[in-house]
């Protein structure tokens, strides 16, 4: 018989994105295990070859080159984060390798001018621009008018902020303030003082992690009290609530995935993952897992590992995974997957948007800090 | 001969793998002044550094006051009653003159004794009192030398090793320092010094050594060496 099918990936196992990259890695590992338990792929076992890119694009580029030309892997899966994907995609394009990139949320990686077009990279999660859509949409429906947008100055957060501004304008709202802050910033006193002086109805923050916590804390300290306040990444982590406790109440967050969402197999995935790794999966885990299954499905349908045939299948494929819906347009850009918006309510993330998936209503408006 | 206070037997050693000393022996009896002379690079400073413990000898022994101190750390040696004034500019440049002197008395507990010692240092070198608030690093070369000697006296040591105490001093102070050394001897201190001012160093020495190329070359009473034509030719400049 033939040897196993080897799938290569470079992941951010250390460095800035270590935590998220490791979750993605576990998603891949669980997928590998599940595939092999059900007979592998094309009758062969599946084996992941994973390297650490230390969260830097330059290293990832080299490692993909190594995976493809040296280790001669049969297929590749995407790395963590948009910048790293952006750089690595140049390599996979060069070697005409299909790359399902489960954790790249930046539109510009996929939507490119004709002379820079990419053919082999596929998106799984919703674009960054969609992160704050739920928050703005809900607020608009409830008659709020003014928005302040703040964001970390990185590829992903900027896109999320730009999306928020666009949507707000479309809905006839007024963006009264927008400012970026550098990565790693944890002191927002001056920025919030400015926000406070404008007294916006909504504060929409495109955050990564620590900044989400620091921002929330300082909003309380400086008594910045909008009627709706939401963050992007970081707000969905259990630590967000553990850290902020009561101060996290009423905060909106956006997520690509929640384990309570009624996707097929989601519940089982959640249980299996917890059992395997001893902690709950994050959406990175689920996206990694689902991305791997999507690639496997396309290979199955193509009946071969040949890149162009697999590509055709990926373009055609419509699939509902534990992570939600998959369907891409001709650029490999995700069009089916939906973001959800939740709100922290009594220590629980309660999905409140979009309406068709929401088991509960948002608690609106957000009361002043001392009444939470 | 009087009781030996310090004896160094057959010291061999140097820096890293290179030996500078090839068997140097020095000794000082209680109450003596011993001078060490020799050309530049003879190993005089190296011998002192080895005795005090900055360098570890490859072989040989150092006995101070009946105890073996070979290879013991300098600060420990100094606590046992040996004082050492290194060659060059041995002061704390960013500390005031007063603080420098206080640090000299680091191993002395009682404030009363420190105050006493301070007084003695000021008496010996009045400029130190005048400049007690000046940063030591901004004092002139000679002033710094006085400070270093003054500081060494703060502990009332049993034996003082001085590496070129007259280096860079004005004649008035050279005379003063040699006078003070004699005075200290009379007061019961034991002294060993390295000097390039060989004539004066031999004149006050009970005994003296001349080193050359890391070995003992001459040895004897100070006045005898001073009179020796060979010594004169080699070390006193004719």
């Amino acid at each position: 018989a033939q040897g196993p099918i080897r799938i290569g990936a470079s992941l951010s196992l250390t460095g800035t994105y270590a935590k998220l990259g490791r979750n993605q890695h576990e998603g891949y590992k669980l997928c590998e295990k599940d595939l092999n338990a059900t007979g592998g792929l094309l009758g062969r076992k599946v084996e992941f070859v994973v390297y650490d890119d230390q969260s830097t694009p330059a290293t990832a580029v080299r490692l993909y080159e190594k995976l493809i030309t040296e280790d001669m892997v049969d297929g590749v899966m995407g790395p963590y984060s948009s910048p790293v994907t952006e750089a690595s995609a140049n390599v996979t394009e060069k070697y005409k390798k299909v790359m399902v990139a489960p954790l790249a949320a930046t539109t510009s990686i996929f939507k490119r001018p004709p002379d820079k077009k990419r053919y082999y990279v596929f998106m799984v999660i919703s674009p960054a621009e969609a992160y704050l859509e739920g928050l703005i949409d809900m607020a608009a429906k409830r008659g709020l008018k003014t928005v302040a947008v703040v964001n970390e100055d990185t590829l992903f957060s900027k896109a999320a902020a730009a999306g928020a501004v666009d949507i707000a304008k479309k809905k006839g709202m007024q963006v009264v303030f927008q400012e970026a802050y550098p990565k790693g910033n944890t002191d927002f006193a001056a920025l919030l003082t400015k926000v406070k002086s404008l007294n916006p109805d909504i504060v929409a923050a495109a955050t990564y992690f620590d900044d989400a916590v620091a921002l929330t804390r300082q909003m309380r300290e400086l008594d910045v009290s909008p009627k709706a306040y939401g963050v992007t990444v970081g707000g969905d982590l259990p630590e967000f609530y553990d850290t902020l406790k009561a101060n996290a109440e009423y905060v909106y967050g956006a997520t690509q995935w929640e384990h309570v969402l009624p996707y097929p197999g989601n519940h089982e995935f959640f249980g299996a993952y917890k059992k395997e790794f001893g902690h709950e999966p994050s959406y990175h885990s689920a996206a990694g897992y689902a991305g791997c299954l999507i690639y496997a499905e396309a290979v199955k349908r193509a009946g071969t590992l040949d890149a162009d045939r697999v590509r055709e299948q990926l373009l055609k494929l419509e699939m509902r995974t534990v992570f939600g819906d998959y369907k891409v347009d001709q650029d490999g850009f995700q069009v089916a997957h939906r973001m959800v918006t939740f709100q922290w309510q009594e220590g629980k993330k309660v999905v409140v948007w979009p309406d068709e998936m929401a088991p509960a209503k948002p608690r609106f408006p957000t009361p002043p800090w001392n009444q939470r | 001969m009087s009781k030996q206070l310090l004896t160094a037997y057959e010291l061999v050693g140097g820096y890293g793998k290179i030996d500078i000393l090839h068997g140097v022996s020095l000794s000082v009896g209680v109450g003596e002044i011993v001078s060490v002379i020799g050309p530049n690079g003879a190993g005089k400073s190296t011998a002192f550094k080895t005795i005090v413990g900055f360098l570890r000898p490859r072989s040989g022994r150092v006995v101070f006051n009946g105890e073996e101190i070979t290879g013991i750390r300098p600060d420990v040696v100094i606590q046992r009653g040996l004082a050492y004034v290194p060659q060059g500019r041995p002061v704390f440049p960013q500390m005031t003159v007063l603080e420098n002197l206080e640090m000299g008395a680091y191993t002395v507990g009682e404030p009363a004794r420190v105050a006493k010692a301070l007084e003695r240092a000021y008496e010996l070198f009045p400029i130190l009192f005048e400049r007690r608030r000046q940063k030591a690093g901004t004092m002139s070369g000679g002033e710094q030398q006085m400070l270093a000697i003054g500081r060494a006296l703060m502990t009332a040591p049993r034996l003082i090793l001085l590496d070129e105490p007259s280096l860079g001093l004005a004649p008035k102070f050279v005379t003063l320092i040699f006078d003070k050394l004699m005075e200290m001897k009379r007061a019961g201190y034991t002294l060993m010094l390295v000097e390039q001012n060989a004539a004066r160093a031999l004149a006050i020495a009970d005994r003296a050594y001349a080193l050359e190329l890391g070995r003992n070359r001459f040895e004897g009473p100070g006045t005898a060496l001073l009179a020796d034509p060979e010594v004169k030719r080699l070390y006193l400049g004719g």
Binding site: T193, F209 | D75, Q94
Partner: protein, 292 residues
């Protein structure tokens, strides 16, 4: 998107700047100490601060200790860590050129951060104790930051007194100027180095403990602090202990005021440009450090 700056806003920002500035000063003082005494730029200062923060976190979450009571405990614990590091590694580079020690501590810093990642994971932790603020007129005083300010001020003051007045403190300063002469004075230099390193680690730990109540704790939290501490001691004058205080407050103020009038992003630029200007006018920092 112009924001009209009112005096009240300016007051708020100035107060915030001073509050964080004192914290900068305290953390930087540890760095200044090590630099002054051992001529070592301790890049592991931030990671030591991170360990201090974790100590506080674990004492608080596991034993339920009042986080402010953990400050001395963290300090003691990190004093021990500092002593251990000095005894095993750092003492070997004390005589070496500046660059060696810099790299050594950089290596230690990488190792500490990754050890923390392995042991504590990269999960965010935090100590939620005092929250909210006291409002004085137009100015909101963050409770945890104000308390941290008081602690930092007191600890910095104590450290100064220690260095100026006590015999041990003076011996530390003496050793910083000439090791050889210190030995000649009978000072046990190795012990002084140990104590210095321990003390600096303890000051970093105090910073970590206080910061734990302000921002989230994670293994990489220290780097920014190493960085800021550098800025602070260079601004004030390296090796100049009062300079660290001035530098800290100044940095806090510059950051906040620049963020108010420009953007948070440019505040860093402003801080550095100002630093370079200061250095050009006074090449050894505001209060004049030591030439190397």
């Amino acid at each position: 998107m112009n924001v009209f700056v009112t005096p009240a806003m300016l007051a708020q920002v100035v107060v915030s700047g001073i509050l964080s500035g004192a914290l900068y000063a305290m953390v930087a003082l540890g760095l200044a100490l090590i630099f002054g005494v051992m001529r070592i730029i301790n890049v592991a200062h931030g990671p030591l601060l991170m360990l201090g923060a974790y100590t506080t976190y674990f004492l608080y979450s596991a034993l339920g200790l009042n986080p402010y009571l953990t400050v001395p405990v963290s300090m003691l614990a990190l004093f021990a860590v500092g002593v251990l590091l000095e005894r095993t590694l750092v003492f070997r580079v004390v005589d070496a050129p500046e660059l060696s020690s810099l790299l050594l501590t950089f290596g230690i810093s990488i190792a500490l951060v990754n050890l923390a990642q392995l042991l504590f994971t990269s999960d965010l932790r935090s100590v939620e104790y005092l929250t909210g603020s006291w409002v004085v007129g137009p100015v909101a005083l963050s409770k945890p930051r104000l308390v941290a300010f008081v602690f930092a001020g007191a600890l910095t003051g104590l450290a100064f007194l220690f260095l100026r007045r006590t015999k041990l403190g003076k011996a530390i300063r003496a050793t910083s100027q000439s090791r050889e002469v210190a030995m000649v004075c009978g000072i046990d230099v190795q012990r002084i180095h140990l104590i210095t390193f321990g003390l600096a680690a303890a000051l970093a730990a105090a910073g970590g403990a206080l910061i734990a109540m302000i921002v989230a704790i994670q293994p990489e939290m220290g780097q920014t602090w190493t960085f800021k501490s550098f800025l602070v001691i260079v601004l004030g004058g390296a090796g100049n202990y009062p300079g660290a205080l001035l530098g800290g407050i100044l940095l806090g103020l510059i950051e906040q005021v620049a963020s108010l009038f420009l953007t948070t992003q440019l505040s860093e630029v402003v801080a550095y440009v100002l630093l370079v200007v200061v250095l050009l006018v006074r090449p050894t920092g505001l209060l004049g450090g030591r030439e190397t």
